[in-house]
Amino acid sequence: MNAVFKIWRGDANGGEFRDYAIEVSEGMVVLDAVHDIQRTQANDLACRWNCKAGKCGSCSAEVNGMPKLMCMTRLSDLPMDKPVRIEPMKAFPIMKDIITDVSWNFRVKKKIKPFKPRPPDAADGTWRMKQQDIDRIEEFRKCIECFLCQDVCHVLRDHRKHDEFIGPRFLVHVAALEMHPLDTEDRIEELRKAQGIGYCNITKCCTKVCPEEIHITDNAIIPLKERVVDRFFDPFGWIWRGLKRRLDRTATANAAAARKV
C-alpha cells in the first residue's frame, strides 16, 4: 500500500511541510515510515530515536496533531487515506525538522532537590521497605522522560511559563521523591514558589498523552497540591508551625548558648 507523509522540514528560521510517498506494510509504526523516508528520499531528515520500543522516550513528535512517541504509533491506528502529518513538539524551540531543543528540561531537573535518605534501617547499611509502600512511586518511576506531557501542557505550550512552572514531568519527579519511603527532604516550599504548582489547573491533558499511562494529575499533581495547601493555606497548620518554629528557635538558641558556656 502507498501512503503519504507530510513532514515538517525546516529550522528555527522557518520551514514548511513536505510530502513523501512510500510503500507501507503490516505492523509499521510512524518511526518506521520516517526511517524509510530518511533512508531513501531525505538522508538529512533529522529525527531523534534510540530504543524503538517505547522505553527511551527519544522520538517524541506530533502525529496528526497529537503528541506521540513515533515508535509506538501504529499506522494501522491512523486514517491512512489521508496524509499523515508529522511535526515537532510545540512547547520547545525547534532545532531542525521534527526535533526540538529539550535542554530546558534538563536544567529544570537539576534544580530540584535530590533524594536524601533517612539513616539505614539495618546494621549492614540497608533499608527495609514494604512492596505496597513503593508500588505508589513505582508508577512515577516508570517515566521515560519523553516530555510529551510538557508539550501538551497549556501552561508551557500556550503561555510559555517555562521560567515559572516546571511542568507535569517534573511534578511527577517531585512526587516520586516526596513519596519515596526513605526520603527526608522537604520540597513543598519550592513547589509553591519556584516550581509554580499553582499554575496547573488540572485539565489532565498530560495524563491523556502519557505513553507510560502514569496518572500524572490524579496520583502525582493533586496529592502534591494537597501538601502545598496543607502547609500554606491551612490556618491550624499555620499556627502550629509558627509555634513550632518559635519553639525550635528557642531550643536552638538555648543549645547555642549552652555550647558557648
Binding site: S25, G27, R48, A53, M72, G125, T126, W127, R141
Partner: protein, 603 residues
Amino acid sequence: MAEYETFTHDVLVIGSGGAGLRAAIEASAAGVSVGMVCKCLLGKAHTVMAEGGIAAALANVDDRDNWQVHFADTMRGGQYVNNWRMAELHAKEAPARVRELEAWGAVFDRTEDGRILQRNFGGHKYPRLAHVGDRTGLEMIRTLQDTGVHRGIDVHMEICILTLLKDGNRIAGAFGYDRERGRFKLFRAKAIVLATGGIGKAYKITSNSWDCTGDGHALAYHAGAELIDMEFIQFHPTGMVWPPSVRGMLVTEGVRGEGGILTNNEGKRFMFDAIPDNYRAQTADNAEEGWRYCTGDKNARRPPELLTRDHVARCIVREIKEGRGTPHGGVYLDISWIKEKISNAEEHIKRKLPSMYHQFKALGDIDITKEPMEVGPTTHYIMGGVHVDPDTEMSRVPGLFAAGECAAGINGANRLGGNSLSDLLVFGKRAGEFAARYARDNSLGEVDNRQIDTAVAAALRPFEHETGENPYAVQRDLQELMQHNVGIVRNEQEMQTASEELRKLWDRAGHVGVIGNRDFNPGWHTALDLKSLLTISEAITKAAIERKESRGAQFREDLPNKDEKFSKVNTLVAKAADGSMQVRLEPLPEMPDYLKRVIEEMK
C-alpha cells in the same frame, strides 16, 4: 587550520549509559573535574533497555548464595575463557554496588521482609537478579543520571567522537562534533574512560539502537589498544519476529524466569531434549520440577529454558531450520500457560512483566496473558572488547580506560543475563576511580594539531561528493553481510568471503556522499559511523576465523566441537605498525588455586 571549540577536563567519560555514569560519579567523588560525552540525550543510552535485573549475590531470597557461587556460575557460563580476576571482582563487589543504588534512590521490588527481591535467570544457580518489574535498566540509568547531575559533572549531549588524540604513547584528548550543528569539539583530558556500549548495529537483526556502532571498540583500536574475544557475540534467544518492523526487539529472559516455556509448532518443549552434560546435574528433567523452581522451590532444579543464552539460541535455530518453527520463522514462548498453575495468572503476568505485556499488545496485537509469543534470536551483546587491566580497567594505552560492554574479560565466551548491569556498576566505578587517580598523577598531554586536521578532513569528505553513494546503502549491505556470514552459525568459507566483502565495503564507505548541510544531518552521521562499524566487523570476522572451534557464543558448523587447544586462550586483535589489523592467540592468565577450588566445589 580547522575551527573547533575546546573543553578541558581531568577525566573525560565517553558514553552515558550505566558504566559511563557510574564512572563519572566515581571520578567526580574523587575530586577531579569530569566531563561526560553522550552520543544521544542524557538518560536515553541503551542501558535504559535492560529489562531483567542486576545480578548480585545478595542472598536475600536464597541464603545459600554468595560470591563464590556467582563467580563459578559466571565462569561456567563463559566456558572458562573469562578473565578470572574480573569475574572474581565482579562477584565480590556487585552486592555493594546494588545497595549503593538503593542509597541513591533506586526502588527495587521487595521481599516479604522488605529487602531487595531477587529473581531467577539463565545460568544463575540461585535467584540473584535485583529488579524492578521488567524495567530495571530504566531504574538504574535514571538513578545514576539523577545522582550524577548533582555531582558537578559537565554533560555534553549529542556529541559524537571521531578520534582519540595521543601525546606520544599516552592519551591526550578526544575530538568530535556536535550533532546539532556539526561544529567540531576538542576535549582535552588527562584520562579518558570509554563506556560506549555495544556493536549491535553491525547486524541486521538486533535489539540494539542506532548508536550501538562499536565506537569505543573502534576508537580504542585505532588509538593502539588491544581488543580481545571479538568473536563472542551474544545472540539473545528471544527477540520479537513479527511484525517485520519490530523484528529483533528484545523479549526479556525474565519471561522464562517467571515460568515461560519454549515450544515448537508441534507443541513440544524442545529444550528438554538438549541439556548439555555440564549443566545436567543442575537442570530439571521434567516440566513439574521446572515450574516448582520458578515458584521458588529451593529443592527444584531450573527448567532447561533457563540454560545459557548461547545454547538456547542455537536450539531455537535448530528447530526453525528443521521445519518446526512458527509461521513467521520463530518458535513459541508461552507464559500464558501458567494459568493452569495459579489462579491470578493474568494479573501476575502484568505485574511481573508489564513492559512485555505492553510491547506485545501495542506492537504485535498479542495478549501475552492469553496466547504465546513468537520469538527468535537477535544480536544483543558483545562479550569482546577493549583489553583492560582487571583491577584498574586501563588499556594498553596509558590514560585510556574502558568499562561496560565496550571492555572485555568478565564474560568470556558467553555472558549470563543480569551480569551486564552488574558489570557496568562494578567496573564503571573502578574505571572512574582509577582514571581519577591517573589524572591526579599526570599532567595534561599536548594536542597534536595534525591529528585534528586529519580527523576534520575525513569527517568533511562526504560533503565533497554529493553524488556519492547513499551511506544508508553501505550500512545496510554491511548488516546483511555480518548477519549472513558471521552470524549465529558460522563456517570458515563464509567468513573468508566476509573478509573480502569487507574490503569492498571499506572502499565504498570512502566514497559515500551526503546531501544537505552539517546541521543535525543523520545521513552524515551514518556516513561517519561507518568507520566504527567496519572496524569492529573486521575484528569480529578475523577473531572468529582465528578461533578454530565452537565455544560459547561462537558456533562453527565446520568445527562444531570444543578444542582443548583453545580452552586457555583469548583471541587478540591489534593494529600493526603498517596500519593493518593483526589477530593472534593470547594465553589466559593462570587462575590461582583458591579460585580453582571454588570452581571444583561448585561443579
